[in-house]
Symmetry: C2
Subunit: 381 residues, 2 copies
């Protein structure tokens, strides 16, 4: 397999933007990534586009506006890991030598979707979902268990929101740029006990895009290429039908595979972008990714290490909580964020001397579904 | 790249089956393909699943029912070419050596979808679609132009339906198994002049699946492996915003690429399965695929060559018109059909001594969209 590089990154406006179409948002992100890469639209040889909500040749409609045509285009879906799936597909195509240059796009219009307003509805033949176990309900069960098993407190959950909203204030592309206190997070409207409104990621429209290429091509355009050292996509049964619902066997296994592939370990990471659709989840992901020992996620949070300026900043972008979470866009956007840090272009939220970063996304814990996808990319320079 | 083989094929019941879920249909097809391959669910290392209508980790929900877990799973969408996209993704993974064995599934529940009942609605920012140019309208424009440019008659269009419905009578898996006359087709309800009801593919629920593997693995399980000699997926602007709407530059280019890759030409084909969502379309596809010269599709049809028993049977399965068209399933199902003929297992519709076959699918000509996908696979033995 050949070495693969990230050459360009781009993001659209993120926010509640019902007046902007998916094509419009996707075009903004794609154009930004192409411009950032220094390449031309005609240099793109393959395109992967991720979207969950009402998809129909989404990549084609976006890319014709950008002037990209006559190439292989694949549209993918993998719940919140759809963006990671697009990046992984592109990585495989370039690593294997099918193509030298391609684009991965993730996009959603959540505010215009009936589907999204239902907090992710149950599958038609899923009894648990029909009984009301939507996404916030699942994560509330997980949070309660974290409190019982690992001594997590409501204040800990609130602290994740406080941290990521602080990070959002450092990121001009974030949907929300407002500081909150623990008290404000806890006093916000209760959604599913113990999860309050400010512990939930917002409903967000937006898109992200990344240009990837063979290392040979990258070296012609930059003296400081960002390498995709690890790329993993894995699906398995998980969440609450297991002995300990505070563990994610899927996420843990995917992380171990990514570390083995890239030859780096969690101790080598300079920053992490991960899936925290609800604040309590971030603590669980610390453990999945081996940033701390199992059950010690709360201690890691309390240590302050995961703040920008700490030992291992987590979600310096603001994460899903503050930056926003257009489902399929997030798995691409996290790769963009890590690349920006490795390039030293992350502005006020920059991780100093960042050389290794990890972009994680986990999806598909739809009510009662148990079977999702975890995508992990490790970037190095 | 390594040689890739088709080892197992399977299809669910096709029909109006609102009582059956996507999971249920997908499981039937996947189980059939796994059984047909002689492998076990645990042998499957990667899964591609195609679905347009209301997707959400569809492959994962199907495969957990089949006992397949802890592998990479990718869900894809590419309009009617979604199934071809799944097959192409799997081909690439095996050809490049990422995996040795995998499954591609295509599935739709059309009768339970609001979306499908709208005859494919326009994209949100598509003016032509909003003005009413849905799928039957587009193909009616094409048909009128075929009449003007190439001397096609209403009887020719009806004859395509008569042929494919005759083929459906030879296929126990077809949705419709009833003979029609030219007069009956022409007398059926007018949908969009000149397209009558019996010139339209029906609204169909169903699934298809294929097990593919490296040639090394295939040779351990069969003495007569079916080789995937050509695999192409291409997207480009096409349909009616071009000089001659009876040409498909996209389909023509994809076909030339597939012939070049596989080292066979249209003259070598023993059978073809292709996309004929509306009867007039089949004649255009003869020309795209080089089965005849441009503008001579009508002559090829009138010659009788494309009937079962003719020189180059087209849609011996019954095609989309009689077998049915669960959008994303069709691109997988056409590959299954070609494989059955090459194995000599196609029953009453068997193409004698078939050695080379082509499976074609074209999608995304959504009202005003112009940008679709064409998937072509050439199988040989």
């Amino acid at each position: 397999m050949r070495e693969v590089a990230v050459l360009g990154v781009g993001q659209s406006q993120f926010g509640k933007l019902p007046e902007r179409s998916v094509t419009d948002l996707g075009r903004e992100a794609a154009m930004a990534a192409i411009k950032d890469s220094g390449l031309k639209p005609k240099d793109i040889q393959v395109a992967y586009t991720a979207r969950i909500v009402e998809p129909m040749v989404t990549g084609q409609t976006i890319l014709k506006e950008v002037g990209v045509t006559d190439i292989e285009m694949i549209n993918v879906e993998n719940a919140c890991a759809g963006g990671s799936t697009a990046v992984r597909g592109l990585w495989k195509d370039i690593a294997a030598g099918f193509y030298d240059v391609g684009i991965a796009i993730g996009v959603e219009s959540m505010t215009t979707s009936t589907f999204a307003r239902q907090l992710i509805p149950p599958a038609k033949d899923d009894l648990d979902g029909q009984l009301g176990l939507t996404m916030p309900g699942i994560f509330a069960l997980l949070a309660r268990r974290q409190m019982d098993e690992h001594g997590a407190t409501l204040e800990d959950f609130a602290q994740v929101s406080v941290k990521n909203h602080h990070h959002g204030c450092l990121n001009p592309m974030a949907q929300y740029q407002k500081e909150f206190t623990v008290e404000e997070v806890l006093a916000s409207r209760m959604i599913v006990d113990p999860i309050t409104l400010l512990m939930c990621c917002p409903n967000t429209d937006g898109a992200a895009a990344v240009i990837m290429c063979s290392m040979d091509v990258a070296r012609k355009h930059t003296t400081n290429p960002i390498k995709v050292a690890g790329s993993v996509l894995l699906s398995a049964d998980y969440t609450y039908r297991q002995d300990d619902i505070t563990r994610s066997p899927l996420g843990g296994k995917a992380a171990r595979m990514a570390y083995e592939m890239s030859g780096v370990g969690p101790e080598d990471l300079d920053l992490v972008e991960l899936h925290e659709a609800f604040a309590p989840e971030e603590i669980l992901r610390y453990e999945d990714l081996g940033l701390c020992k199992p059950g010690q996620g709360v201690d890691l949070l309390r240590s302050g290490a995961t703040w920008v300026g700490g030992k291992i900043p987590v979600n310096p972008s603001g994460g899903l909580l503050a930056l926003g979470h257009p489902l399929s866009a997030s798995g691409v956007r996290t790769v963009c964020e890590v690349a920006l840090h490795l390039r030293g272009q992350a502005g006020k939220r920059q991780t100093p001397e960042a050389k290794v970063g990890l972009a994680h996304m986990l999806g598909g814990a739809v009510a009662g579904l148990e079977a999702g996808a975890c995508g992990i990319h490790i970037l190095t320079r």
